[in-house]
Symmetry: C2
Subunit: 380 residues, 2 copies
C-alpha cells in the first residue's frame, strides 16, 4: 500500500509481517503491507483462510483502505464485514487502535468502519485485524451457459432466493467468452455464462448443487458442468481466471480500463442488458463480467489510450453506466473505489447534505488536508 501524505508517498510494503494468528478466535492481525496470498500461505496449517479476493495480489492495508471485495463477497462479505480492528496513525501523529478483538461490541463510535473505505484520506492504516473463515470440507465448482444475459442473471438471483449460499457466482457475457476462447484456446459456447462455487460439507454442497441445477434448467440453461477435485476445478474455471487478460488482449498493445457499479439484485439483469446495448455502438471492444450475486459488475475495455476519441467514448459510457446504476438505487462503485475518477459522481449518489457530513469528517480528522489530498472529498 502506498499512503500519500502531503505530497510525500509513504511506502508500507516492507511492513509485511503476520503479527498474530488466533485460530480459536478465527482472527489474525497483520501489518498493512502483508499481501493476501502471503497471508493465506501462512495460514495453511490452521485450517482457516482469508476469503476476500480482489483480482490482483493486493496488500491487506490497501484492501482495508479501499473497502475491497471480490468473487467471494456474496458469501463471506467485503472488507467492511471482515475487518475487526485497525491500527491507524492520525494527522496529529497519534497511534489509534479502533477496536478490541471481540466479535461484536456496542461500545462507542465505529471507528473501524470509518477508516475502512476511506482510501487513506483520514489516516494511515498500519495494522489490520481480520476475521478468518474455516476452509470448507468440500468445494464444488460449476459452469452453465445460457441463451441470454437475463436467463443467466435470473438463475443467480433465484439461487440466492432459494436459500442456496454460493461462495461465488460470476457472470461472463458472450463477447467475453469469445475473447477467452481465442486467448486461452478454449471451445466454450459463446453465450452468457455463469461460473459458481459452493462451499460446505459434502452432503450440503451436493444438495445445493442439485437445487442450482434445477433452477438453471428452469431458466433454459444450455449446459451445466461441475467439478470437484482441485485440478478439475481450475480447468472448469479457467475462462473466469483468464477473463480480464482475454478482454484486454483483444487488440495488440491495448491497455485495460475497468469500471464497476453495483445495483440492487432485482435490477442487475436490466442494468447489464442496457449496458450491453451501449457497448454495441462503442468503438472500443468491451466485455462485461460480474459478481452478480452482489448486484456488482464490471465493464472492461481494451483501450488504445493514445486515441482521444476512444478515451472520450469510454468516459461517456462510464458516465451513462453510473447514471443508470444510480437511477436503480445503486452505487457508482461496488468495489473499485472513488479516488479521483469517480469523485464527481458522489454528490449525485449521496446528495449535498451527506457530502457535507463527509467534508466535516475529513476536516475534523485531517484539518491540514495532508492525507491523500483531492481524493473522495475536499475539506469543508
Amino acid at each position: 500500500m502506498n499512503a500519500v501524505r502531503g505530497g510525500v508517498c509513504i511506502d508500507l510494503s516492507q511492513m509485511d509481517r503476520v503479527l498474530q494468528v488466533n485460530p480459536e478466535d478465527f482472527d489474525c492481525t497483520v501489518q498493512a503491507g502483508v499481501r493476501r496470498k502471503q497471508l493465506n500461505t501462512e495460514l495453511r496449517t490452521t485450517g482457516l483462510f482469508f476469503p476476500i479476493d480482489p483480482g490482483p495480489d493486493a496488500t491487506i492495508g490497501g484492501m482495508a483502505a479501499t473497502r475491497a471485495s471480490g468473487t467471494n463477497a456474496v458469501r463471506y462479505g467485503t472488507m467492511r464485514e471482515n475487518v475487526i480492528a485497525l491500527t491507524v496513525v492520525t494527522a496529529g501523529g497519534h497511534v489509534v487502535r479502533t477496536s478490541r478483538r471481540a466479535r461484536k461490541s456496542a461500545a462507542g463510535y465505529d471507528l473501524t468502519r470509518l477508516f475502512v473505505g476511506s482510501e487513506g484520506t483520514l489516516g494511515i492504516i498500519t495494522e489490520v485485524t481480520l476475521r478468518l473463515s474455516g476452509i470448507p470440507e468440500e468445494t464444488i465448482v460449476g459452469r452453465c451457459a445460457f441463451p441470454s444475459e437475463a436467463a443467466a442473471v435470473d438463475t443467480a438471483i433465484q439461487t440466492l432466493q432459494s436459500g442456496v449460499t454460493p461462495a461465488r457466482v460470476e457472470f461472463l457475457d458472450d463477447r467475453l467468452i469469445a475473447a477467452v476462447n481465442r486467448y486461452s484456446g478454449l471451445d466454450l459456447p459463446e453465450t452468457s455464462t455463469l461460473f459458481f462455487e459452493l462451499h460446505g460439507s459434502a452432503a450440503h454442497v451436493a444438495e445445493q448443487c442439485e437445487l442450482l441445477e434445477a433452477i438453471a434448467s428452469e431458466n433454459d440453461c444450455l449446459s451445466f458442468e461441475m467439478a470437484q477435485g482441485p485440478d478439475e476445478r481450475t480447468r472448469l474455471w479457467q475462462a473466469r481466471h483468464d477473463a480480464y487478460y482475454a478482454t484486454v488482449n483483444q487488440r495488440r498493445d491495448a491497455r485495460g480500463l475497468a469500471t464497476d457499479v453495483c445495483v440492487p439484485i432485482s435490477r442487475i439483469a436490466e442494468c447489464i442488458v442496457e449496458t450491453k446495448k451501449d457497448l454495441e455502438d462503442c468503438p472500443v471492444p468491451a466485455c462485461i463480467m460480474g459478481h452478480v450475486g452482489d448486484g456488482n459488475f464490471h465493464v472492461v475495455f481494451s483501450l488504445n489510450a493514445d486515441d482521444p476519441a476512444e478515451l472520450k467514448a469510454t468516459e461517456e459510457i462510464g458516465r451513462r453506466l453510473v447514471s443508470r446504476a444510480l437511477a436503480m438505487d445503486g452505487t457508482c462503485t461496488g468495489e473499485h473505489g472513488v479516488g479521483l475518477g469517480k469523485k464527481k459522481y458522489l454528490p449525485d449518489e449521496f446528495g449535498e447534505e451527506a457530502m457535507q457530513v463527509m467534508r466535516l469528517l475529513k476536516t475534523s480528522l485531517d484539518p491540514d488536508n495532508i492525507f491523500n489530498p483531492g481524493k473522495i472529498v475536499d475539506p469543508a
Copy 2:
C-alpha cells in the same frame, strides 16, 4: 425510540410505518418507530424475516442507534451488518441519506456505520433500510445439560470451529436453571445448559444436529434433547424465554439489573468461570446467560434497589467484570451500549488517542452538543 435533543425528548414512536419492502432484494425500509415484532408480522407473506432480536420488542430506530444484536447474531450478525442505509437528521437540520440500496459499495465514507451505535449523539435516525433473511425451510432446536460451565461453552466453540453455523447458541448457568425451575415449574437438571437452534434445509439441519450431538457427547453432556415442530420448540426453549424474569423474581419486589461484556471466544469459558466465582460472594442473587457463540454474556442481578450496599456490590462486580473482559481483549459491552453507565470504561477500552478521535467526530457533527448530551463522549 426517544431521541434526546438539547433537553427536549423527541418521541418517534408514531413514525411507525413500513415504507417499502423489496422481497427480491431482501431489504425493506421502515420509519424509526416501527417495532421488530410488527415488522416481522408485516413480512409474513414474503417468506422473509428480520432476524435481529434484542430481548424486548424494541423499535428499529432504537436498535440501529444502539447497534443492537441478540440471540441470532452468531449467524445473522448484529445491526452493524444488517442496516443497509439510514435517513438521519443532522444538527444543522439537514436530512441525510447515508447510502443506496446496493448490497455493497466502495463509494465514500461509511456514514451508515458511523450512525449505527452512536446512541443518538450524532444525529436523529428517522428511517432505516434493513437487510432481510429467508425464513429457513427447517428449524431444529435443542437443549443439552453439561457437568460444568467449561464443558458447555467448549461445546459451543467447538461447534462453530467444526463449520456448523447455528442460528442461536445460548448458555444458562446452574443457578439460572434452578431459578427457572422454580419460576416456570420445570424440572431441568440444575447445571450449566446450552440451548441451540439450527436453520437450513431439512437434510442440512439434520446433518448439523448430528455433528453437534457428537461434540456435546465428547464434552460429557448429561442430556441432549431436540425438537422440530413449533410447539415442541417453544416447550424445549421455555427456560431460555423465561430466563430474565426467573432471575429477577428470585426475590419478592426485586428489580432486574443487567450488564454484559463480550470477549474473544477462546476466552469466554475462563471469563464465565471467573465471573461465577465473583458472584458466589455477592449478597445479591445473580445469574449468567450468554450468547456464547459471539463471546457475549450477561450477568443479571435480582436487586433490592433501595439498599445502598446491594447497589455498591453490583457496581463493584460490574467493574471487575469489565476489567476482566478488557484484559482478555474484549469489550465493556457486547450489545447493551454505553449511555452514561459505561462511559467511564471507554478510555480503558479504546485508549486516549481513539477517544480523542471520537470527541472530534462528536464536535464536528454536533458542535452545540444538542444530541443526547453526556452520553458516550463529551465534545472535544
